[in-house]
């Protein structure tokens, strides 16, 4: 399956139903019955587990959670007004953005270069691929614990090997970037595998022709590889931005409330978790997550419009 599929659903004309004949043939009748029976478990699950919760969360964002089991109170747009004037939320949004601005482009560029190197016939190609992909099968909770230890300012491996004294995760100025570095480390193997799948479909004779014309490796990358796999790059970009905006595990594990950097590192989803499940302010938590949804939708729409400028579908 081409990863670009989800955002290019051209083979599918939504809402265009087959015309209903007055008399259905027995085949049509049985397709109707079995079709609905087959999708019934999935649809029932999606409506109960996703569609109703989505509507309910949006509804809750207009309510204030009652104290001590008292009923919830409708407050209209008050939660949203509070969000707009809430310095903590703006700071959190900015922290999340900083994380994404570092993690997404760097993880894509590094992964793309590695994919190009591994796309050649090399000895040990599979071994490298297996190693780069390894962090994808380990729980982020475990990864964060290891990196917290590597980053330890007194006894950590990094400071002691390079003889430096950096407060990687307690200096408010750099902590979010240190966490973004772990994000990059975790995801490059995954991005690389997606790029490798895209590269397999680039015909080899393009490169032969280019090298006959005297194009070097760099020119081939810029003029052949990148345009030809631009749909894959676009797809990885869109999904990585969505993923980065939802960062939670790494930050939750790395930063505790004693850490002087926590205000400058907590992300939107972290804040959602804190309000909804640690402070039982579900109404405000719901508002935060609706804001997150709005931000993600906006970013995705901007990219869908912007793609016309640089993404080439055959």
């Amino acid at each position: 399956m081409l990863p670009g599929r989800i955002f290019k659903v051209t083979d599918y004309k939504l809402f265009k139903e087959i015309p209903v004949n007055k008399k259905l043939t027995s085949r049509q009748k049985s397709e109707f019955i079995w079709g609905w029976l087959f999708i019934l478990p999935t649809m029932l699950g999606l409506f109960v587990l996703n569609i109703y919760p989505m509507i309910d969360t949006i509804k809750q964002s207009f309510y204030k959670t009652g104290d001590f089991g008292k009923g919830n109170k409708f407050v209209g747009l008050a939660n949203y007004q509070k969000v707009l004037g809430d310095g903590e939320i703006w700071q959190t949004l900015w922290n999340t953005a900083k994380y994404a601005i570092v993690e997404v482009p760097l993880s894509i560029v590094i992964a793309l270069l590695l994919a190009v190197l591994l796309n050649k016939k090399l000895k040990g190609r599979d071994v490298f691929r297996t190693i780069f992909f390894l962090p994808m099968v380990v729980a982020p909770a475990a990864i964060a614990m290891v990196w917290k230890w590597l980053y330890n300012s007194n006894f950590g491996l990094i400071n002691n090997v390079f003889h430096i004294k950096v407060n990687w995760i307690s200096d408010p100025k750099i902590a979010i970037y240190s966490i973004a570095a772990i994000g990059i480390w975790s995801v490059i193997g995954y991005n690389m595998v997606l790029f490798l799948a895209g590269l397999q479909e680039v015909p080899g004779d393009y490169y032969e022709a280019a090298s006959l014309d005297g194009a070097n490796g760099w020119h081939q990358l810029i003029n052949i590889t990148i345009p030809l796999i631009s749909p894959t790059i676009f797809f990885v970009l869109v999904t990585r931005i969505i993923g980065a905006m939802q960062v939670f595990d790494l930050i939750y594990m790395m930063i505790d409330l004693n850490n002087p950097a926590w205000k400058k590192t907590q992300s939107l989803v972290f804040l959602f978790y804190k309000y909804s499940f640690e402070q039982s302010k579900k109404g405000y938590g719901a508002t935060v997550v609706v804001v997150l949804l709005a931000v993600i939708l906006l970013l995705t729409i901007v990219q869908l419009i912007g793609q016309k400028k640089w993404v080439h579908y055959e």
């Binding site: 399956m1 990863p3 004309k13 809402f15 139903e17 087959i18 049509q28 049985s30 079995w34 609905w36 087959f38 478990p41 999935t42 649809m43 699950g45 587990l49 996703n50 569609i51 109703y52 989505m54 309910d56 969360t57 809750q60 590695l114 190197l117 490298f128 691929r129 190693i131 780069f132 390894l134 962090p135 099968v137 380990v138 729980a139 982020p140 475990a142 990864i143 964060a144 614990m145 290891v146 917290k148 230890w149 590597l150 006894f155 491996l157 480390w185 193997g189 595998v193 997606l194 990885v236 999904t239 993923g243 595990d249 939750y252 594990m253 909804s276 499940f277 719901a286 997150l292 949804l293």
Partner: protein, 274 residues
């Protein structure tokens, strides 16, 4: 000559990146067998433990019931795979191969679920789980993974790629729709089912927020959420923390090394959903 120089450069880059990927795991392993004093020693900096402290393993397993955590995690993963593969196979087939009114609208619901950040579902899902008295149970852990919109999409893609003639032939031989599905079509999508199973397993095993919310109890929760707890309790005791991390990820790494082809393909087809 020029070619071999270029090749050496490529290998140097690849080996440097490999070292960066492996050192954290190696450091986790080495630290897990040190004494706390060794981890706090800077001059000289201790790399390999002087005496391998194998009792760290026993201490950690005593402090946190890892057998129980493994059972919880495995049950959650197995049940989620079972439900997701079963429901997604059925609905994927119907969406790809059967014509019926309302199909496109329902498929739009599937796509909608895939595009929306999961956090938006969590508060009401949690309220449902607590009303059903399923907190601190395996069913609470399984709950949001009973059906899979992504799985439906993946299986629909798989069925769409199968040739139409197969169904026609089965129909002429007198197979009805369920027979065609069970005997002819579904066996041909095994690789997509495996991909969905692997994706579901990795996703469930890595998830942190949901088990923390629905199973706060130490004996009912998963590996990931137990690590988060230890992380808060054991502040500076790095050998114990690294041993806990090691215990919770080594089996997964071993399975990955044996089935790495299926893992990489399975997760690559998931296209960014992790």
């Amino acid at each position: 000559m020029k070619r071999s120089v270029a090749n050496i450069c490529i290998y140097v880059v690849l080996i440097l990146v490999s070292i960066t990927m492996l050192v954290p795991f190696l450091w986790m392993f080495l630290t897990a067998f040190k004494t706390t004093a060794e981890t706090m020693q800077v001059d000289p900096f201790v790399i390999v433990p002087r005496v391998w402290q194998t009792q760290n393993f026993g201490n950690v397993v005593k402090a946190m019931d890892f057998v129980r955590l493994y059972i919880n995690t495995l049950l959650m993963v197995a049940l989620r795979i079972l439900f997701a593969v079963l429901t997604a196979t059925l609905s994927g087939y119907a969406f790809a191969r059967l014509q019926f009114n309302g199909k496109n609208l329902m498929f739009a619901v599937v796509l909608l679920q895939m595009m929306i950040p999961v956090q938006i579902f969590i508060i009401p899902q949690y309220v449902m789980v607590s009303k059903l008295h399923l907190t601190n149970t395996v069913w609470g852990l399984v709950f949001p993974g009973i059906v899979s919109a992504f799985g439906t999409f993946l299986l629909r893609q798989a069925y769409m790629q199968l040739p139409k003639d197969l169904e026609e032939a089965a129909r002429l031989d007198g197979c009805n729709i369920p027979q065609t599905f069970v005997y002819i079509m579904s066996p041909l999508t095994k690789s997509s089912m495996v991909a969905l199973g692997i994706f579901t397993a990795v996703f469930a095993y890595k998830d942190l927020m949901w088990p923390m919310i629905v199973c706060p109890d130490n004996r009912a929760t998963t590996l990931a959420s137990a690590l988060a707890k230890m992380n808060g309790q054991y502040q500076q005791k790095y050998p114990e923390l690294m041993m806990a991390a090691l215990i919770s990820c080594v089996p997964m790494i071993i399975i990955y090394i044996f089935f790495q082809k299926q893992f990489i393909e399975g997760i690559a087809t998931s296209g960014g959903k992790l």
